[in-house]
Amino acid sequence: MNLAILNGKKAYSTDPSRPACREYERSRAASSIYLRISLLIVGCMERGYCLGIESTADDFGVGIMSFQGEPLANIVSSYMPEKGGIHPREAARHHAMIAGKVLAEALRKASVKPSDLTIVAFSQGPGMGPCLRTGATAARALASYLNVPLIGVNHLIAHIEIGKLMTNARDPVTLFVSGGNTIVSAFEAGRYRIFGETLDIAVGNCIDIFAREAGLRPEEGFPVAAKVMKLARKGRKLVPLPYVVKGMDLSFSGLLTAATQLVRDRRCSLEDMCFSLQEYVFSMLTEVTERALAHTEKPEVLLTGGVAANERLQSMLKVMAEDHGAKFGVVPKAFSMDNGAMIAWTGILCYKHNLTIPIEKSFVKPKWRLDDVQALWVGD
């Protein structure tokens, strides 16, 4: 990492009271009562900024949040494999190469000097070891150079916390769906509990592998899952597939095998299979989310993660939430995919409870579970 960029004496605007993204937050949610209350609470604290580094998988992201919950910058650079899925070592190499550039861009976008940063947060896990270590190294270097506290953030919690902030949800049932995760979670007695999760592969992984097996290729800014969604719009015929729901848990591996074979043997059109795959998979996801909602009787449903961008999944969950009289919120794409802003925001929440870690204890935790963390800040 190029530490020269951290020398804030010359390059950056010096007025932190006029951050670049202020209009964003003002137009979105400034009128909401909840935000006002949370501003009031946080407002009692010192002013400050947190820089968050996300590097659990193929995305390297740097976000800067003010303690008041304003996203000042949220820059992400994605590793694009030439073929196949994510190779952890290659992804880590990508992260190491662009880390300095992304950090510099985030600071410039936020008009924040490195010396203005109050804390540095990084995604400590769960995720791919080599990728996590790259982000952690950058965070440790930055924190020790600036002599500010370091905070290790649970990536899964970060998704939920930024989602709550962006949609003004207070106590939602969260469906977190991405290439690496499929989790239904809600807060109960001090922790984000896992009510349902996949018993084998993640839903995004299922869709991605199917797409690659079916010969679809990703393009810049247009991942294979988006291609599946587009093809699905042209599908008409529902092809029977395994529908596997066990209580609130799910299984996608059998469905993936069936779908892949049917397309490979040309027993149905690709359009019909994309359509059927989405209908089955998203119906299963909506069903388990509904079960968790009925079980916990929470007032809100929150959808986040990379797969949250899918319109069909959004519409299913919205209808389901309506039928239960619950509010439904989708996290905006920039904050639902892996990003640094969510790490920064969760870092701020942790900092309020002194959940900082000394550098020598900041090992990454590739298999860190969501329900291992005591979420002390919830209910503040």
Binding site: E188, A189, G247, S283, E287, A294, M316
Partner: protein
């Protein structure tokens, strides 16, 4: 009178032929494609009373089924007086709580011995009657199989339900359940299924030892 709007179905408390009954109606899920929804609902409506009956043969109390209507996705069954185990478990004195769990474990053991997998073993799906009997309800996700895998998943769900709903007593309660289970199924079966549960847990994402 609507008494519970669940994830799967709505439960109505009704008078039917001079009896107090529960009318379980699976409502069409608007979020699902109608043809997919019809198939899933009809299959589950047909299936549930069959397994409810099989459970009785296994020696586990379940509601009496009076009527089944697949076209309307409706089942009419006995209203079981009592409280959900979920409501009482945490408030019971510790010895009573463990007794209840051991009893529940025996019932699960009986189901499994007859190849019945409940599929949604949570404390909200068990009714404790004033006479102290436990009646299992909601067999909507149940299946019949002799596979160890299925028994493992079933008990894994029970464990998870205890963890998320009765966290402070979860470990003791699950242990008591397995003690009861052992009374019916024997030492060897318990060892097998516990190993299976461990394996299933490890399959989950982000488990420290995998």
């Amino acid at each position: 009178m609507l008494i519970k709007k669940g994830a799967e179905a709505s439960l109505y408390f009704e008078e039917w032929q001079n009896r107090k009954v529960i009318l379980k109606k699976r409502l069409p899920k608007r979020y699902r494609l109608p043809e997919l929804d019809r198939e899933i609902q009809a299959q589950r409506t047909r299936h549930e009373p069959q397994i409810i009956h099989r459970a009785k043969e296994a020696g586990v109390s379940t509601p009496i089924v009076f009527m089944v209507d697949t076209a309307e996705s409706t089942i009419v069954m006995e209203f079981v007086e009592g409280k959900q185990v979920k409501q009482v478990l945490s408030d019971l004195p510790s010895d009573k709580r463990l007794d209840l769990c051991r009893y529940i474990g025996k019932l699960i053991g009986r189901l499994h011995s007859d190849g019945i997998i409940h599929g949604d073993l949570t404390t909200s799906n068990m009714i404790l009657t004033p006479q102290g009997k436990v009646v299992f309800i909601d067999f909507g996700l149940s299946e019949q199989t002799k596979e160890l895998e299925a028994r493992g998943v079933d008990l894994h769900l029970m464990k998870r339900a205890l963890d998320s709903t009765h966290f402070s007593h979860a470990v003791d309660c699950f242990e008591a359940i397995m003690n009861g289970y052992e009374e019916i199924r024997g030492r060897k079966a318990v060892k097998e299924v516990l190993a299976k549960i461990k394996e299933i847990e490890k399959r989950g994402r982000y488990v420290s030892e995998r």
